[in-house]
Symmetry: C2
Subunit: 420 residues, 2 copies
């Protein structure tokens, strides 16, 4: 199979292939910019998504264009970076090329796999149909449509069918981590505002938003105090919280928590994740979630030329703690790999172990509340929300989006008017 | 079948059902606001679309949320207006109720049908699959995805397949009316900008944008001078214009114009339209395009309680000219019907004939050019573009959208950066 077109007159320089244009993959590409390396970014989509804000698209707070940017635009000033819209099906590690679904191949001198994770239904894949998760723009717009249509159906239901109405006005979020907490808060605000303002026959008293968490408290990876603060803030928004709640079934009718059957048309999955297929491609050791167990420098054991980063990698870093599956970690790993590669290409020094610097944890609950942990500081309420918004606007990829999201939030805050 | 829930204690007041929440339908509802009438707006979508700007969504200039607003939000201050998300399947004119696809019915004292038009392929419905038109947000996002993916495919094509590349970089727009002219101009700018800035292997010289018009000049409903100005402006953007061009076939391979076969993966239909099914529902007389022939007051012959307006109606108005199928005409007709109904409900006077006031015609070509006809004035170039933008921003439904579109355009104008 013939190779893809190469940049002219450049056969001697190292070729780096980056699979996945999330936070990790982009950090690699940006870290190698203008270093004389030929970089190829491969992704199934033509756009990068600011995943931490996907829940806002799902709850009609932001538009897809506010949190997505074309990969080509992001790297357009890096003349030696190519972007390839393609699906990867495997890696030939002995020949050093990536296999694409169209039958073509892509040669590399160094390979970075940053393909992220998808939802895991703990072996119950048939739940996916009834309880979508939110990993892509398409997921988010589908969930948004479901929520809005459920309210429309509830509004137009006939008098004699009133007992059936509750299933449309019950919204269940499975998983009490940051995504679940943010989703439940945003759904509560969206639906309460809509019933107050836009609908005639349904009121906020008809609404039931249920957040199910298998553990003993919300935000299990945050300090206990912040999990409690999140619970109080959500309860203030009318969210019903089921701690120690085990989802035993999901179907057409709704969801079963333990022995209790809850009739609902809207279930959203924010529980387990499963790493992408990188471990299979590489035939490498993986942990229970399918994440590749990497060396301290993020390379794959036995393959110093292949790195796995972000949600696809499993690593206990130099500080002795496992690196969490969050955007800042993926970004830092990508930057680390770029630095290692630069050093290697110039023959400077041996690879350094990666160490995650945790600047803090943040989760937002509705319009004016958030919880945050920065070093030893734990804050909640409005100050945390302001911090949360500033951080997210700041880190949004692309200046234009930063302005659009900022203006949108300001507008929402002032008017409580949300686009649908 | 039981009636839908009624607003409490209001059985004696007139019930007006409006089918379709486009410009015409909304004008009726807004004209009847707070008049003591119970208004029900029925639409298949939950949002109103600013159709004249759909081509901007199709060419990645605007986001769907910029030009769509929830119907409920638009009428939320009209407490006697209900919004029903439902599909109409027919009208029982003797019993005076509307039939819905869920089997329910909707009683009316007066009925306004404003269901617009869809594309007509002149009996070749099999063309629809290969040459979509742009009538809904979904249509527009689909076309946008097609255009962007075609460029992605062209960029990644292998050296030895280069002869096949042209079909991805050829874009054909069928129909030289305002929509076709605006689409062709916007596609030219989008693709030229993308090849200049974002892509590495395809250049603007590889692009072919073809606008096919069956008649002798572009913009046949505008004065000849403006049709010529539009042609020159489009040619300046590199658009190839085929006047007197007859599309004889559309298929997987592309499109056939007369005897010439053009290989392309992107054909967009902006030619004929066909009115919605109102004439069939009413068993009423229709013209060749399926539009109901209405009385001078826009009512249906033999049914003074039923009105048909907008693209669904056919009328030569009091000035002796046919009312054109444009947004301002639909809006004026809606306002006229609202006034007639108010007069009738209060027993004031006989219905007046409708007269269309044509404030002008406008079409934009790319980023800084437009052609306009206002009364006896004909302008083109930048002044016309400024007029066009101001008019469109002004008429956008909803203050928020107005600001968002304004900011977006300003941003695009300053940076030439468009969201995808």
């Amino acid at each position: 199979m013939p190779p893809v077109p190469r940049l002219p007159g450049r056969d001697a320089v190292p070729r780096v292939v980056v699979i996945g244009a999330g936070f990790g993959g982009l950090a690699v590409a940006q870290g190698l910019a203008n270093s004389g390396t030929i970089i190829t970014i491969v992704d199934r989509q033509n756009h990068h998504v600011f995943q931490p804000l996907l829940y806002q698209v799902a709850t009609a707070g932001l538009s897809p264009a506010d949190i997505a940017a074309p990969i080509r635009s992001i790297v357009k000033r890096q003349k030696e970076t190519r972007v390839l819209l393609a699906e990867v099906t495997g890696v030939n590690t002995s020949q050093r090329h990536v296999l694409l679904s169209d039958g073509n191949t892509l040669e590399y001198d160094a390979l970075v796999i940053a393909t992220g994770a998808r939802h895991s239904y703990f072996g119950r894949d048939e739940w996916a149909e009834h309880a979508p998760g939110i990993k892509t723009i398409d997921d988010a717009t589908k969930v948004r449509r479901n929520i809005l249509l459920a309210m429309e159906r509830a509004e137009t239901i006939r008098q004699e069918s009133l007992p059936d109405r509750d299933e449309y006005l019950t919204f269940v979020v499975v998983g009490g981590g940051p995504t679940g907490v943010e989703l439940a808060g945003a759904i509560a605000e969206l639906t309460r505002h809509a019933t107050d303002m836009d609908f005639r026959f349904i009121t906020r008293r008809c609404l039931r938003i249920i957040l199910v968490e298998a553990g003993e408290r919300l935000l299990p990876t945050f300090p206990a105090k912040l999990g409690d603060a999140a619970r109080k803030a959500l309860e203030g928004l009318g969210v019903l919280i089921r701690l120690n709640g085990r989802v035993t079934d999901i179907g057409d009718y709704g969801v079963r928590i333990g022995d209790e059957r809850i009739a609902t048309t809207t279930v959203i999955w924010a529980a387990g994740v499963q790493a992408s297929d990188a471990a299979k491609w590489l035939d490498a050791d993986a942990d229970r979630s399918g994440r590749v167990k990497v060396e301290p420098d993020l390379s794959v054991p036995g393959h110093p030329e292949i790195f796995v980063i972000g949600d696809t990698a499993s690593l206990v870093d130099a500080s002795g703690r496992p690196v969490p599956g969050v955007a800042p970690a993926a970004k830092q790993e990508g930057m680390h790999v770029a630095r290692s590669l630069l050093a290697r290409f110039t023959g400077r020094r041996a690879p350094l172990p990666f160490r995650y610097r945790n600047w803090g944890n943040l989760a937002t609950i509705g319009r004016k509340r958030a919880v945050a942990e920065i070093g030893t500081l734990r804050i909640s309420g409005l100050p945390a929300w302001l911090l949360w918004s500033t951080a997210h606007i700041y880190f949004l990829v692309g200046f234009r989006n930063r302005i659009a999201v900022g203006a949108n939030w300001l507008w929402n805050y002032l008017t409580f008017e949300t686009p649908r």
